[in-house]
Amino acid sequence: MNVIELERASKTYPGGLQALREVTLTIGQGELVAVCGPSGSGKSTMLHLMGTLDRPSEGRVRLLGHDMVTLSDRRLSAVRAHWIGFVFQQFFLTPHLTAVDNVAARLLYLGVPARRRAAAAREALERVGLGNRLTHRPHELSGGERQRVAIARALVARPVVLFADEPTGNLDTASGAGIFDILWKLHEEGTTVVVITHNTDLAEAVPRRVDLLDGRLQ
């Protein structure tokens, strides 16, 4: 089954800048896809459309065969809560919360009762190799560890697809490699992963690579 379908999806930002031009793309269950392209080519824009963070100006976006364009803002929020996991370049962890609480916050909007959240969060942190950092706060963690907390937060809800927007952009090579290892492992376990990256080694290695230039697929 196709997890994501973009059909002639375009995005024009207010002010007239066309960041994405008639992109048609299908991603199937369990794929690992690298999105490449120079800065400003529309990679993040495309990721936002696929992840229902934004709507296309024209064209269709379908997740699991359902049209996303016609959904209300409320429904889109629920789609993000249940189906989608995001990992951002800047981690976006809450500073005063422990790793467990940062991950558990993800489950709030899924309606998981409080008593079950911490256990699920611990399990997710163990999956990304942070079983020994459960009660650390972000400032007590290295950059790579912070990004792994963010990945655990994306995973804990068992999403249909994981989107990572330059997850290693703020990390040194070694930590970055660690992050890619985790993404590979998730792919091998069957998770659909879409990752934006400038890392040529990874881009060469992944089964599927998508290149963008000036908002068009190459």
């Binding site: 963070l53 629920a78 951002f88 809450t94 909007y109």
Partner: protein, 396 residues
């Protein structure tokens, strides 16, 4: 199936709101302070009014509202009139009257602490002859010592009103003071007399002694009568003519408990002013909270974006910020209510009034805080909810 948004439990909402406040503790305390001051002043005003009202009401209940006084009015010539000798006896025969008594000021007499003090400086303490049943009729009490009795009323013995005693610096019987040109022994000090406040500043001597030794003419200055409650209005109409049949127009009849009742009413009007001031303080506190919340929304755009990306709906974001504002305001409100109540209880304690917790005032304080929180949180919360996820996340 496309999923539906989950409902957040009330507990989760509160937890998220409080977490937002904990992260910015100093600022939270300062903005809650504004509300605390407003609520504290309003609660204190209402609380003091409630306990003092209760105090006055208790006093009224104790002394009763069925006492009437007959005092000298002014004669046509302007000189102060006095009442006929037999006025007390006549008043006591009116049907329904259960007690009638009188005092008579001794013309030109002064009470001084010692003979060394200039007679011109009397500290406002006049000398009055008192009937023995005065205290019982007015339901007065002695603070220390005893009131006049049949024996002491014939001797140079004096009972001081509470104000007179304070003026002389006397707090227990036994001392000699200089009254109307001779030394007399203080045998008692009275508590305040709510129905005859002018006697608080008087030195009371026995009626027979005053007539025999001080040149008192025996004419009452004021007659006090207590009746059954249902007869008060009827008696009030007949009282002037009974006390002074020849010159009923030179007599003034009044109901001293009216002054206490009026004080209760006056207090309510006075409260309005302070309540208004408290409301202004509360308004300023509310604006402070709105301000802090607006800044908070600006600073936390990334957090908002993140929560949207995790699946929070606009409504959930809005609710989060309203809950935060209400929590802030409620912190201030609860603190303010406690401070205000403490102030009013302290006041009641100092005045010797009954310590009553005014439940309505507590409810009002807390409700006002919640309202202020909701109103001041609404605008910032709407701004937070209006951000699209990508706008919010794009913030640097």
């Amino acid at each position: 199936m496309i999923p539906a948004p989950a409902r957040l439990s009330a507990w989760d909402l509160v937890a998220v709101g409080l977490a937002g406040l904990r992260a910015r503790r100093g600022r939270a305390v300062l903005s809650a302070l504004g509300v605390a001051i407003g609520i504290a002043s309003m609660v204190a005003v209402l609380g003091i009014s409630a306990v003092s009202g209760a105090g006055l009401q208790e006093q009224l209940a104790r002394v009763g509202t069925n006492v009437l006084t007959v005092g000298p009015g002014h004669s046509i010539l302007g000189s102060e009139a006095s009442l006929p000798l037999e006025s007390v006896a006549r008043v006591s025969h009116i049907p329904g009257v259960v007690g009638a008594t009188a005092i008579g000021y001794v013309n030109g007499a002064t009470a001084r602490r010692t003979d060394l003090i200039d007679p011109a400086i009397t500290n406002g303490v006049g000398v009055a002859a008192a009937r023995l049943d005065l205290l019982a009729t007015l339901k007065g009490t002695v603070r220390s010592g005893t009131f006049l009795n049949a024996a002491t009323a014939r001797y140079p013995a004096v009972v001081l009103g509470t104000y007179a005693a304070d003026r002389f610096g006397i707090d227990r019987p036994g001392r000699q003071i200089f009254v109307a040109g001779r030394w007399m022994t203080v045998i008692g000090i009275l508590d305040p007399l709510p129905l005859a406040p002018d006697l608080d500043a008087a030195a009371l001597v026995g009626w027979p002694y005053a007539e025999r030794e001080l040149g008192f003419d025996g004419h009452p200055t004021t007659v006090y009568e207590r009746s059954t409650d249902d007869r008060v209005t009827t008696i009030a109409k007949a009282l002037a003519a009974t006390a002074n049949p020849e010159h009923p127009d030179q007599v003034q009849v009044s109901r001293p408990s009216d002054a206490l009742t009026a004080e209760l009413a006056a207090r309510a009007a006075f409260n309005g002013l302070f309540l208004g001031l408290g409301a202004v303080a509360l308004l300023v506190g509310g604006i402070g909270i709105a301000n802090v919340m607006v800044i908070s929304v600006l600073e936390r755009r990334q957090e908002i974006g993140l929560r949207r990306s995790l699946g929070a709906t606009r409504g959930q974001i809005r609710l989060q910020f309203v809950v935060e504002a209400v929590a802030l305001s409620l912190c201030g409100g609860v603190t303010g209510t406690i401070v205000g109540l403490a102030a009013s209880l302290l006041f009641a304690f100092a005045q010797g009034w009954p310590l009553a917790l005014p439940a309505q005032v507590i409810t009002l304080g807390v409700t006002a805080a919640v309202l202020v929180g909701v109103v001041s949180g609404l605008y910032p919360a709407r701004r937070a909810a209006a951000l699209t996820p990508t706008e919010a996340l794009a913030t640097r």
